[in-house]
Symmetry: C2
Subunit: 202 residues, 2 copies
């Protein structure tokens, strides 16, 4: 039985599934069983989708987005305003902004945020290429769309300082109460920030 276990691809599958974000040992077992019980309808289509994605999706050398095209469709879209540059930490944030359909400029994906805790330093982020693009595109405005966390805001301030000598308008997302947010459930920081940034009702 020991020998058989060594040859068994199941532990390998469980190990690799268990490494995915948000998937623990128990979810890995559930997913593996689901896949193996439905090979035709679930496992093979997933295999094909993963294989296609592996072969075709690449990082946009311009903005850092992930797409089948390099440069990506956002960078090559002639209708977008090339003088507005929205800086995001991660591709997921770019997608979140695209889903909101509220931004028609270009993006720049940093590839993370500065973090003393995780030892992320400026040279590990795509900050040099950001400065290079800002000059090349003659950017009017850099929007720092970073998370409202300590690391996100540290990164925003670091980039704002780097941009200061170039005298480019640099903005950040508004802080406040999220739509549908209930005061009773929000943290004090959000409530006091929203109060400080209160706006006139016309």
């Amino acid at each position: 039985v020991e020998l058989k276990q060594d040859n068994n691809p199941l532990p390998a599958l469980l190990k690799h599934l268990g490494k995915l974000p948000g998937v623990g040992p128990r979810s890995a077992r559930r997913i593996a069983l689901h896949l193996l019980k439905k090979k035709e309808s679930v496992l093979y289509p997933l295999l094909t989708a993963l294989d296609n994605a592996a072969q075709q999706i690449q990082t946009c050398a311009e903005c850092g987005n992930l797409d089948t095209y390099n440069p990506c469709p956002v960078c090559t879209d002639a209708k977008r305003q090339t003088q507005q540059l929205c800086v995001v930490a991660d591709v997921a944030d770019l997608w979140a902004l695209e889903r909101s359909s509220s931004f028609r400029g270009l993006y720049h994906v940093l590839g993370g945020t500065l973090s003393a805790m995780d030892g992320v330093t400026p040279d590990q982020l795509r900050i040099d290429t950001l400065l290079e693009r800002v000059v090349r595109h003659k950017t009017d405005e850099v929007i720092l769309a970073l998370n409202a966390t300590v690391d996100g805001q540290t990164t925003a301030h670091y980039i704002a300082e780097k941009l200061a000598p170039l005298q480019i308008k640099t903005t950040r997302l508004a802080f406040g109460i999220p739509l549908g947010g209930e005061l009773d459930y929000l943290d004090e920081g959000t409530v006091s920030t929203a109060l400080a940034a209160r706006q006139l009702m016309v």
Copy 2:
């Protein structure tokens, strides 16, 4: 842009990931990004593991377990007591019992439980093969290791009735307080069942 989106393997990957148990649209995005950012260290090993599993893992025709061998190593293990048969709803339950290392007999995977809600009827479960195996193995005892849910216990009673004419000892798992369980956090049903089934301390 419309044409490009149609050819994009990303939506396909997100769709297939999002169909996995416990994975919603947001986790699917997180997993897809994680995979695409780490092709060499995460995506390719997962692809290989899935491919190996797809090719090599099959359902044991005897007990319903999933393994590279058919019949599976549990069924062919000469050291196991072939006259004890443990009935489980799912392969995950078989694995849970194997992890507990407390059972040395054979298993029988039903492939689900009877459910009025989900329209699962006896002919959709491996009950016929259970009865056939019980006769063939000259089984001494059938242990119904089914979930302590309405569906699990309905299934247990249905099978017990089917086994009654064969006059085979039929048991079920004990109900009671789980190890580490705190009375204050347990539901009333568990507490009253544990009280009714109280045991003498020697």
